[in-house]
């Protein structure tokens, strides 16, 4: 091959990788999602979509840590801290959960720093084990504690928010129908995915790529791996805590066995892994796959066959890790790229073939 043709093909090839219709597809999906609550009137379907968005959001936040090359089994802890913070502040001081949410995020960030600072410097599984232990211990503590200082924690029975008594209304994150929650959850999801996308495009995104493929090499190039992993974790903690506050306002009821549970941590993990952790859109795709299955299984078999949905999570998790380690996102991207090269850009496809020869 002549020198000239080679230099010509290079920029085209790099454009193929940045797949061209992503903007259009994202816009179409978003419009469909905005129309859905006006078409599907059934609250049950709206509820399922809210759960898809919430878990897509949580898994995206969790996936940030994954993109930095670490694995958290304790995101339920940060979720629970957010849920408890906003609820306690609303019940004790009447502070609007919109603001309590931010306090919850700060609390979760502090907790994340305490867990992350000693463990994220280390390679291997220390962080995963520490988050797991933190989550389990926080749940034990919340179950056994009725009061912390002046605040009621409610032990294992949890906390009820009685809606529409006293301070109420949209200013206090209380809505009569599910539709506002739908749009808040959708907004949160779009926000989290945007954060993930923008971080990927920024300097820290390149650090992530370097850190997760080889932390030692990254360190030798002057990237402070521990520091950037900690920063990533703190962003993730704040986002997760906001998700927790949303959950507590959506259900008006939180208990340690719901919001601080290891099962919740693992659910976030499964959603993230199926879609493809270490990718931007993976967690979102995972939410769309696993949450409808989960909701149907729980409503159909939840009372008669306890633990069935968790068994299915476990099997799916093992199969994905063994056979599709990059997640379903990888298939989707490959499919789109295949369509792109086969049908939309035959000329570049020909170039591609030439180069391979």
């Amino acid at each position: 091959m002549k020198q000239g043709t080679e230099t010509k093909t290079l920029p085209q090839r790099s454009r193929i990788r940045q797949f061209p219709f992503s903007g259009i597809i994202a816009a179409v999906v978003l419009v469909v999602l905005i129309i859905i609550p006006f078409v599907l009137k059934s609250p049950y379907f709206v509820h399922i979509f809210i759960m898809i968005f919430l878990f897509g959001y949580l898994a995206t936040a969790w996936g940030l840590v994954g993109q930095s090359g670490q694995l958290s089994f304790g995101h339920a802890a940060f979720f629970g801290l957010g849920a408890y913070s906003s609820t306690i502040l609303y019940m004790e001081t009447g502070l609007s959960p919109w603001l309590g949410m931010l306090v919850g995020a700060i609390v979760a960030v502090i907790a994340g720093a305490i867990i992350g600072y000693p463990t994220l410097r280390l390679r291997g599984v220390y962080f995963a084990l520490a988050t797991l232990a933190f989550c389990a211990i926080l749940q034990m503590y919340a179950r056994a504690t009725q009061f912390i200082g002046p605040f009621t924690l409610g032990s294992a029975f949890g906390l009820w928010i009685s809606p529409f008594s006293g301070a109420e209304g949209p200013l206090y994150f209380q809505f009569a129908s599910k539709t506002p929650f739908y749009f808040i959850a959708l907004g949160m999801l779009v926000g989290a995915v945007s954060v993930s996308y923008l971080l990927n495009r920024s300097r820290i995104g390149y650090y992530w790529t370097a850190m997760r493929s080889d932390p030692d090499a990254a360190e030798s190039l002057g990237i402070n791996v521990g520091r950037y992993r900690l920063r990533t974790l703190l962003i993730s903690c704040a986002l997760t805590a906001i998700g927790g506050s949303f959950y507590s306002q959506y259900y008006y009821y939180i208990t340690p066995s719901q919001v601080l549970d290891l099962g919740l941590s693992l659910k976030i993990v499964v959603v993230g892994i199926i879609g493809g952790w270490q990718s931007v859109l993976g967690p979102l795709i995972g939410g769309f796959i696993i949450i409808p299955i989960d909701e149907v299984l729980r409503t159909q078999f939840g009372s008669s066959v306890p633990g069935l949905h968790l068994i299915i999570y476990g099997i799916v998790l093992m199969l994905i890790i063994l056979f599709v380690p990059k997640g379903v996102n990888d298939w989707v991207m490959r499919g789109l790229r295949w369509i792109d090269t086969k049908h939309w850009r035959p000329s570049e496809n020909a170039n591609d073939k030439l180069e391979r020869q």
Binding site: L129, A130, L310, Y313, G314, L317
Partner: protein
């Protein structure tokens, strides 16, 4: 007060040996294969259930059931390593194992086992009544239950037995060789994947051996595995990942903190103290108290 603390100290050491039994197998597996067996607690719980049903259905004494449960545990661990974890090793490129992938794989196994037991046997708590050894021993003001004392002795015995196996036998030499350098061992003609599977089986068998000794007084629910596993994770990091005797030391520290701390503060606070100790140790000495693995 001094008497109470001394009694709590003894109780803590006994409790710590019980935790150490679970942690030892975990630490052995990590030390050689560099894989954290996330499903260790649930596998342990499964062996405890097996022991319970051997007693319940056939009337086999828990201490006698060791001769059945330990080989079963070995075979189960061998199978898990060979069927589930080995493909991850075969897939990896440039001999760098993605440890988080294996961790997730075993987390999936944990979910399947725990909830499979819940599905099969229900969530009711079970326990063995009337095994061959029972009762208490009085040493002055200290009262020790005999089955718990046996668990402690078993734990200490297992740690020395493993030390002997690893340092004084041909198999132990091979296992340690593979743990130190996989490629060099393979060049020397050691079947690495077989050694890995044996190690995994051995780790399960060690924990199951101790589990049989726990059966006479331990209350079984499907969730018991995860609770013990979380303690075991803390203990192995505290004692040093990969060190079997470190696991014994770490177990005793955590047991004593829980029991003695429980005299002064509520039980849950004592558990939080153990987490704080864990974080301080990681901060100050990431290798753990007797760690072998560089981090």
């Amino acid at each position: 007060m001094a008497e109470q603390v001394t009694a709590a100290l003894v109780a803590g050491i006994l409790l710590g040996c019980l935790y150490a039994v679970v942690a030892m197998g975990l630490s052995l597996i990590f030390g050689i294969i560099r894989v954290i067996n996330f499903a260790h607690g649930s596998m342990f719980m499964l062996f405890l259930y097996l022991g319970f049903f051997l007693w319940h259905l056939f009337g086999i004494d828990p201490y006698l059931s060791i001769i059945i449960i330990v080989p079963v545990a070995f075979a189960f661990g061998y199978g898990v390593q060979y069927v589930l974890v080995r493909p991850m090793f075969l897939r990896e490129k440039a001999y760098v194992l993605e440890p988080l992938g294996v961790l997730l794989l075993l987390a999936g196994l944990e979910l399947v086992i725990t909830n499979g037991v819940l599905l099969g046997f229900g969530g009711a708590s079970r326990g063995i009544v009337g095994s061959s050894i029972s009762g208490v021993i009085h040493w002055g003001f200290i009262i020790v239950s005999r089955p718990r004392l046996i668990v402690a002795l078993v734990g200490i015995g297992l740690s020395f037995g493993l030390h002997w196996l690893m340092n004084r036998t041909e198999l132990g030499n091979r296992i340690r060789a593979v743990g130190q350098n996989r490629e060099a061992s393979a060049i020397c003609g050691i079947n690495v994947h077989r050694i890995y599977a044996i190690t995994f089986g051995l780790g399960c068998a060690v924990s199951a051996f101790g589990g049989c000794a726990m059966l006479p007084f331990y209350t079984l629910v499907p969730g018991v595995g995860m609770g013990l596993a979380i303690k075991a994770f803390i203990i192995v990091v505290l004692g040093g990942l990969g060190s079997v005797r470190g696991a014994l030391l770490g177990g005793i520290i955590i047991g004593v903190v829980e029991a003695v701390g429980g005299q002064f503060v509520p039980g849950t606070m004592a558990v939080i103290i153990s987490l704080v100790i864990f974080l301080i140790v990681i901060l100050a000495k990431p290798k753990g108290l007797m760690g072998l693995i560089e981090v």
